[in-house]
């Protein structure tokens, strides 16, 4: 089966005369595509990343490159959940590489819909984000156990995630995860325990002061306590510098999106004095 070698390279630049962020598409190669950018309140630009093939197929090698210029504010989202299709025996794993560079004083909000790994899918995701001085980041990702309605629960072959986040040249978050449901049962209390969905939300602003983080941590910790229940756990971690990470584990997929938005609203207001504007699309 032929595979896709899709690539999308987006540059967001701050246009001082109009006080707006403008999108320049440096490169787009199917199946990845951006149709246009939408202006948001406050001058930010919103871009929906379309995958015209409807999902990620075995052997696909997709890459996304986001350059957020000094002072620009960009919001990037997907048009729907990312389906990871079945891999035939012996087929190469699908690969998705994301690179994001957030320049001084810029802000990137990367808010995709969840990943849905179909039975027998194999997928490798490699992400690297770098933040310059006063650069901000709201970045979430959610992984589902599969197509539960089809009776697929952790039926995928293997998922591998690599996530590197550095601020001002120092690593502040490094994740390396290999999910192999057969060799390493995910129901172990060392991994997911009784939960099926997991999500991470990074909240960063390089150079923000200690009191800012202390106050925000207090607010988000209270929110985590309020939103947690027997079916969903929220936790809050302070990164070594410049940010926080919110983690969620849930027995269902319903409560995670609304919870992420709640954390985002509080954090955006605390770090930028702005309302979090939910991406314009059908949920």
């Amino acid at each position: 089966m032929p595979h896709s070698d899709g690539r999308l390279s987006l540059q967001f630049e701050y246009d001082a005369p109009t006080a707006r962020t403008v999108l320049q598409v440096a490169e787009q190669r199917q199946p990845l595509k951006v149709v246009r950018a939408f202006q948001m309140q406050g001058g930010a630009a919103l871009a929906h990343v379309h995958n015209l093939s409807g999902g990620i197929l075995a052997g696909d090698r997709l890459s996304l490159d986001l350059q957020i210029g000094p002072g620009a504010q960009a919001q990037v989202t997907s048009t729907g959940a990312t389906r990871l299709y079945r891999s035939r025996a012996g087929a190469a794993a699908a690969e998705f590489t994301a690179r994001a560079s957030v320049r001084a004083g810029a802000l990137l909000e990367y808010l995709p819909d969840p990943l849905i790994p179909f039975a027998d899918s194999r997928f490798h995701q490699d992400t690297a984000v770098s933040l310059e001085d006063d650069a901000g980041l709201f970045w979430w990702e959610t992984v589902t156990p599969g197509r539960e309605a089809h009776g697929e629960l952790f039926s995928y072959d293997a998922l591998r995630f690599r996530f590197d986040l550095d601020a001002e040249g120092i690593p502040i978050a490094l994740e390396r995860s290999h999910l192999d449901p057969v060799a390493r049962p995910l129901g172990s209390p060392a991994r997911l325990g009784p939960y099926r969905y997991f999500s991470s939300f990074y909240v960063c602003r390089a150079g923000a002061g200690e009191s800012t983080w202390r106050d925000l941590e207090k607010q988000l910790r209270e929110l985590a306590g309020t939103l947690s229940s027997p079916v969903i756990l929220w936790g809050l971690g302070r990164l070594p510098a410049h940010g926080l990470v919110v983690r969620a584990l849930s027995q269902n997929g319903r409560d995670i999106p609304s919870g992420l938005i709640s954390f985002w609203r509080v954090a955006k207001q605390a770090l930028y004095g702005q309302d979090a504007v939910i991406p314009r699309k059908i949920y």
Binding site: P171, A173, S177, R184, Y195, L233, R247
Partner: protein, 208 residues
């Protein structure tokens, strides 16, 4: 060898008995009990265990070169502040105690427990394989001792558990020989969230 045994002993006065690394929350929220503890420990060794072992080995091999970067990397691998802080506190205390007892150059700056153990073992002339296995054993010992205070886990049961998990400790130590700190993976979201939520527990026996 005798010095290494002392360094890996739970009685070493660095404060390791005060930390549960999230276990206290898991037990309080009924996500871990004596029945599930053996499989938990085996899973933990396959995930966090091999990462810590890789860093222990790296510190042994590097002998202080690139020390700051190595410890920054391990800090960035630990999203839960309590567990990261516990590892750093124990690491610095361990290193200070070791250097006071044995002497040798202080690599300076932050030190995680795993990297401090690897570094000290190198100075003692202990091979990295043995050093890594001892580090993992003392980690598992510490977790089991914490569980004895958190759940109905008798001494005989704990001793048998520690006895029977030794092959898993050795295989993790051996597997870490080919593991490098850049790529070795761990997937322990429940343990991480438990550590993040520990500060909110109404009653706490442990610092982490």
């Amino acid at each position: 060898m005798l010095k290494l045994m002392q360094l890996a002993d739970s009685a070493l006065p660095v404060g390791s008995a005060a930390h549960s690394f999230g276990l206290e929350t898991l037990v309080a929220e009924e996500l871990l009990d004596a029945g599930s503890l053996p499989s938990f420990l085996r899973g933990y060794l396959l995930e966090t265990g091999i990462v810590e072992a890789a860093f222990c080995r790296a510190a042994h091999r590097l002998a202080g070169v690139g020390w700051t970067e190595l410890n920054q990397q391990l800090s960035a691998r630990k999203p839960a502040q309590e567990s990261r802080g516990a590892s750093l506190t124990l690491g610095r205390r361990f290193l200070q105690l070791f250097l006071a007892l044995e002497g040798g150059p202080d690599p300076g700056g932050e030190a995680h427990y795993a990297t401090a153990f690897g570094y000290a073992s190198r100075l003692l002339g202990v091979g990295e394989e043995l050093a890594t296995a001892c580090y993992l054993q003392q980690t598992v010992n510490g977790m089991v001792y914490a569980c004895q205070r958190l759940m109905p886990l008798g001494q005989q049961h704990a001793a048998r558990l520690l006895w029977e998990i030794k092959p898993a400790i050795l295989s993790t130590a051996q597997a870490s020989c080919a593991a490098d700190v850049e790529t070795t993976a761990a997937f322990t979201p429940l343990v991480e969230i438990a550590s993040m939520r520990h500060v909110d527990q109404a009653t706490r026996l442990f610092i982490s």
